[in-house]
Structures are given as structure tokens and as C-alpha cells.
């Protein structure tokens, strides 16, 4: 079976016990992203402290890859500046485009921590969107939160 290369234990752990799940206050921006080819959905809120991501909270439904990805992302971005978090997101995109190239995963290991376990997903083009959905939502929500920053949060 090739399945284990995609469904790493780390991914299944995040799927079964997601980190940071649930929608919380306060937040400056909330977005809802869907993957129209399969119906995966995530609602994601970003709370900024200055330009630091103080909290990311989310609710969603979807496959193990999409749900584990948002959980792993939560661990990676809390406490980072928006710029650094989105930079990490860019690295994650690079990993997803690596077509299973182990050298790429190795190079990104320190930066991506648990999220490097998603390297196996890059061999399955149909699943890459599942893994990227939450990162796209974060990018969208962060931009909106920064735009909303001068007037403060909604909560």
C-alpha cells in the first residue's frame, strides 16, 4: 500500500485530535472558504495583536487531509507575524508542488515542523487543494484583518 506515504501518523493524529478547533472571540476577520470540487469547507477567524497572529480559530468539515492541515497550520502560525506566517504558507505551497521530492521536504523540515508530514500529499494532485484550503483561508483572513486593524476588532 502506498497509502501510508500520504496518511502519516502525524496527519491522522491532527485529524482525530485537532489543535485549536472552534470559533473564538475576539477576531478581526472571518472568512469562509470552500473547495467546490468536493465540498470541503472551513470557516476561519484571525485575531491580531499588532501585526502578530494572536489566535486562529476555525470550524470546518472535510476530509482528513483538509482537517489535519488546518490543525497543523494552527500550531505553526500562532505568535508569528503575519508576514512570517504567510512566508511559512509559501513554503507549504512549495512542499505541495514538490511531487513527492524528498529533498524538498528535507529542506523545509525545520520551517514546517509537523506540516512537513504532508509531503506525501504532493504526489496526489487531486488532494493538494484539500491541504492548501486552510492556508488560502489564512492568507485571505490575515489580509482582511490587517485592513481592519486601524479601527480595532469586532469583538
Amino acid at each position: 500500500m502506498q497509502l501510508e506515504s500520504m496518511y502519516q501518523d502525524i496527519i491522522l493524529d491532527h485529524y482525530r485530535n485537532p489543535h485549536g478547533r472552534g470559533l473564538r472571540d475576539p477576531y478581526e476577520a472571518e472568512v469562509h472558504h470552500v473547495n467546490p470540487t468536493c465540498g470541503d469547507e472551513v470557516t476561519l477567524r484571525v485575531h491580531l495583536d499588532g501585526d502578530t497572529i494572536a489566535d486562529v480559530s476555525y470550524e470546518g468539515m472535510g476530509c482528513s487531509i483538509s482537517q489535519a492541515s488546518v490543525s497543523a497550520m494552527y500550531d505553526l502560525v500562532i505568535g508569528k507575524s503575519v508576514t512570517d506566517a504567510l512566508g511559512t504558507g509559501e513554503h507549504f505551497v512549495t512542499l505541495m508542488q514538490s511531487k513527492g521530492d524528498a529533498a524538498v521536504a528535507e529542506k523545509l523540515e525545520d520551517e514546517l515542523e509537523d506540516a512537513v508530514a504532508f509531503a506525501g500529499v504532493s504526489k496526489y494532485p487531486a488532494r493538494i487543494k484539500c491541504a492548501l484550503m486552510s492556508w488560502m483561508a489564512l492568507k485571505d483572513a490575515s489580509a482582511r484583518a490587517l485592513a481592519a486593524a486601524p479601527t480595532g476588532g469586532q469583538a
Binding site: L3, Y7, C63
Partner: protein, 441 residues
């Protein structure tokens, strides 16, 4: 209790079609996938595989007869025109329609849009004869909650363009159309009723008789989406009683890029064109143009000639098998699959639980595993299924699931394919650790 003993032995009635002989006609079924596994193709509902005779017909067209039909005075143009029109005649015969009632489109979606745009173009047509079926404010279009997006979104858009109102028939809990309010939903304001003959996700075969009868009472047109029925059961437009029947070539062993809009001639003849340009005109002057009668009026531009020829070969292949036998074959497989899948703890079939008025599309959910993950495990075993909302988002929403796994059967499907699916679902349960009975097995 052991795992084997807990499973029913299964009802395998002899299959009407010779699966091994048919498989030999499909070159793609000889390839392997995912490290040498036999391809178990259970996704014909999305697109069917093609027998060699269809591939040969397309190749022969390009190698020996290629030219633009209905143009040119040379021999190749004559031959191309002859082959194109022969395919039209074959398709017409297949569904019991007249040759001039068969319009070639790109696919079902294209065919539905052709009708939907004709109805709004009718409202602004210069020719009074084209205004008969005009849709406007105060009019209503009726669909069902079971429709594929292709038979829903074009009608939503028609209503947005014209100010008409979209209404729909709902679904019952067991996956059938709820016709209890048919008499009020379809009423004197209804201009058209668009309904699928067979659900692409639930497998339900709809009772079109009462719907057509009610539409006739109020003078509404009826469009039947045959994308999932024409490939799998005998369909005769005279029996159907509808005004339009639309279907796709690629779901019935034919090439991609060709579909069919059948329309009752007097209705087609009263409709303005959707796409305009070459081929469909009668006289063109700088000040304005007149159009050909159907079917040419709805076939603007050089058509997909090779694909039409390929579709003709596909119809010939199906006719040789016999559509009654195709239907009986799939019914046997469906009955077996429903029985086997529903015997697995944690598996829920979405749609009618037995083969009564039901075709070979079997959608199901597996407790604790998202359909994408089910599909991934099946793929790893060489089994191709569809996962997701199947372009019928309102249906999955109606049944409270985010998505389903769907297996669809066709002429090359055998009991071994269904067994592989059932084993694959159990493998997915083991892989994700959600098989309660495995602990005691």
C-alpha cells in the same frame, strides 16, 4: 463470529451480458493502475470508457474522410457529411425520434443551455414566430431538488435574466421525488418543467408520467435530462411524452465533446437560436440574417464531426448489446451491490435501498471516514469511484451529508468489480480504525 461468516453470501443472479467478452472490447481495461493493480472502473456515471469500435470510427474518420460537413463540393466533404448525417439518423433511431429533431451539442450542459437561452432570446426575438415560448416576468420554471447542477443553474440564470421565478419539487427521505405538491408547484404560470429521468447521485428513476401529464394540463414544456438514463436503459421519446430530451455522448461509450438535444419538431421550430454564426444561417445581409430550420439552426459553426461519428459507433455498440439487457445487467449488479454494501456496519446508502425504480448509481457514506478518504483507499486498490457532491450539491445537503462515495456500473462491470468495492470499503474501515466488528473478528 468471523468476518467471512458475518457477510451474506449474496444474490448473484446470472448476468445478462458476457462481461469477459465485453471487457476485451475496451482497451483501457487491460491497463493496470497504482503499482500493477487491475483497473476496477466504477465511475462510468462521470464518464464511460470507450470500446475499440468507437476509437476506430474516430480514427477512420480522420484518416480517410476528414472534411467539414455541409460545406464544400469535394468528395471528402460529401463523405464527411454522409457520415455525420448517418450518425444523426442512428441516434434518432436509438431514441425513437425523427432525424430533424436531433441536434448535436457539446454535451448535456450545452444542450440545456441551448434551450434555456432560446427561451430568453425568444422574449426579444424580432421574428414573431420565435416569441411563442418567451419566458418573462410572472412566468415560472420548475425543476427538482434532485437535479445535477447542469439542469439547475441554467434555469436559475434564465430566471435571473428574465424575471421569471424558479420553483422546485422536493425529495422524500428515501430518495424519491416528492410529488405531493405537484399540482400547485406546476401551475398555469409554469412555462417549463426540467427534470432528470435518473438521478446521478441517488440512482432514483423518476416517475415522469404524472409530471408530464400535469405539465400538459397547464401547457408547460417538459425537458428531460437523460444524461444518466439514455446510456443505461431503453428510452423512447414517443413514450416519454416530453418536449426535450438531452444527453451526453461520453457517458454512453461515445467520445467527449458531443451531446444531443432532441426536441419535438414543432417546438424546436418555434425557438430562436442560442449560438449564431456559420452553418445555421439561411440568408445573411449586412442588415440582418435569417436562419435554417432545425436541427441546423442550433448547430452553429463547424461541428465536432469525428465525435459525432464516434457517438454513432457507440450507439451501434449499445444496440448490438440491447438496451433491455444493459438495463437488466445493471439492475442485477445494483441489487447485489446494495445488499453487500448495506451489510457492512457503518455504511449507509444515500438513495433508494432496493432496485425498485432505481438505476446503477450507488452513493454511500462510511461512518467516521470522509468520502475523499474512502476514495483514496479505493484508488490505492485500483478502484475508481467518484467522491464529493457529484455536481448535485442540494441533494447531499438535503440528506445532511457533506459528500458521498459513488459507484456506477456499466456494460463491462461484473460481480468481481462489486466484490472489489465491498472489500475496499472494509479496507478503508480497517485503515482508519473505524471497524467495530474487526475487534472481535
Amino acid at each position: 463470529m468471523t468476518q467471512t461468516a458475518s457477510r451474506p453470501t449474496g444474490t448473484r443472479i446470472p448476468l445478462p451480458l458476457d462481461v469477459e467478452a465485453i471487457r476485451a472490447d475496451f482497451p483501457i481495461l487491460t491497463r493496470t493502475v497504482r503499482d500493477g493493480k487491475r483497473l476496477v472502473y466504477l465511475d462510468s456515471g462521470a464518464t464511460s470508457q470507450k470500446p475499440r469500435s468507437v476509437l476506430d470510427a474516430e480514427r477512420d474518420f480522420y484518416e480517410n474522410h476528414n472534411a467539414a460537413p455541409h460545406r464544400g463540393a469535394h468528395q471528402l466533404a460529401e463523405e464527411a457529411t454522409g457520415l455525420y448525417e448517418a450518425a444523426r439518423a442512428r441516434v434518432a433511431g436509438f431514441i425513437g425520434g425523427a432525424v430533424e429533431e436531433v441536434v448535436f451539442t457539446r454535451n448535456t450542459t450545452d444542450a440545456i443551455n441551448t434551450v434555456a437561452y432560446a427561451l430568453s432570446n425568444a422574449a426579444t426575438a424580432k421574428e414573431p414566430s420565435f416569441r411563442r415560448y418567451a419566458v418573462g416576468q410572472g412566468d415560472e420554471i420548475v425543476v427538482t431538488e434532485m437535479e445535477h447542477h447542469a439542469n439547475l443553474v441554467p434555469w436559475q440564470q434564465l430566471c435571473e435574466r428574465t424575471g421569471a421565478t424558479l420553483r422546485w419539487l422536493g425529495l422524500t427521505d428515501d430518495g424519491r421525488l416528492d410529488l405531493s405538491d405537484l399540482g400547485t408547484v406546476v401551475n398555469e404560470r409554469t412555462k417549463l418543467v426540467a427534470v432528470t429521468q435518473q438521478s446521478n447521485i441517488l440512482g432514483t428513476i423518476n416517475p415522469l408520467g404524472p409530471i408530464v401529464a400535469r405539465a400538459r394540463e397547464v401547457g408547460a414544456l417538459v425537458l428531460v435530462d437523460g444524461a444518466q438514463s439514455v446510456p443505461h436503459q431503453p428510452v423512447d421519446v414517443a413514450t416519454l411524452g416530453a418536449d426535450f430530451l438531452v444527453f451526453s455522448g461520453h457517458k454512453m461509450l461515445g467520445p467527449t465533446g458531443v451531446g444531443v438535444l432532441w426536441g419535438r419538431y414543432e417546438v424546436l421550430d418555434a425557438l430562436p437560436p442560442f449560438l449564431t454564426g456559420g452553418s445555421m444561417i439561411e440568408v445573411v445581409r449586412m442588415e440582418g440574417s435569417t436562419f435554417m430550420p432545425p436541427p441546423q439552426r442550433f448547430e452553429a459553426g463547424v461541428p465536432m464531426t469525428a465525435q459525432v461519428v464516434g457517438l454513432g459507433a457507440a450507439v451501434e455498440y449499445l444496440q448490438a448489446l440491447g438496451m433491455d439487457r444493459v438495463q437488466a445487467h445493471e439492475e442485477a449488479l445494483t441489487g447485489y451491490a446494495l445488499e453487500q454494501l448495506q451489510a457492512i456496519p457503518g455504511v449507509t446508502v444515500i438513495g433508494p435501498p432496493d432496485t425498485v425504480a432505481r438505476g446503477g448509481a450507488v452513493s454511500f457514506t462510511v461512518d467516521g471516514i470522509h468520502p475523499h478518504d474512502v476514495g483514496q483507499v479505493l484508488d490505492d486498490l485500483g478502484i475508481a469511484v467518484r467522491v464529493g457532491h457529484h455536481c448535485a450539491w442540494p441533494v447531499v445537503r438535503r440528506y445532511g451529508v457533506p459528500a458521498t462515495t459513488r459507484a456506477t456500473f456499466y456494460v463491462h462491470t461484473g460481480y468481481d468489480d462489486v466484490d472489489a468495492l465491498v472489500e475496499g470499503v472494509r479496507a478503508a474501515q480497517r485503515f482508519f480504525g473505524v471497524t467495530p466488528e474487526e475487534a472481535t473478528a
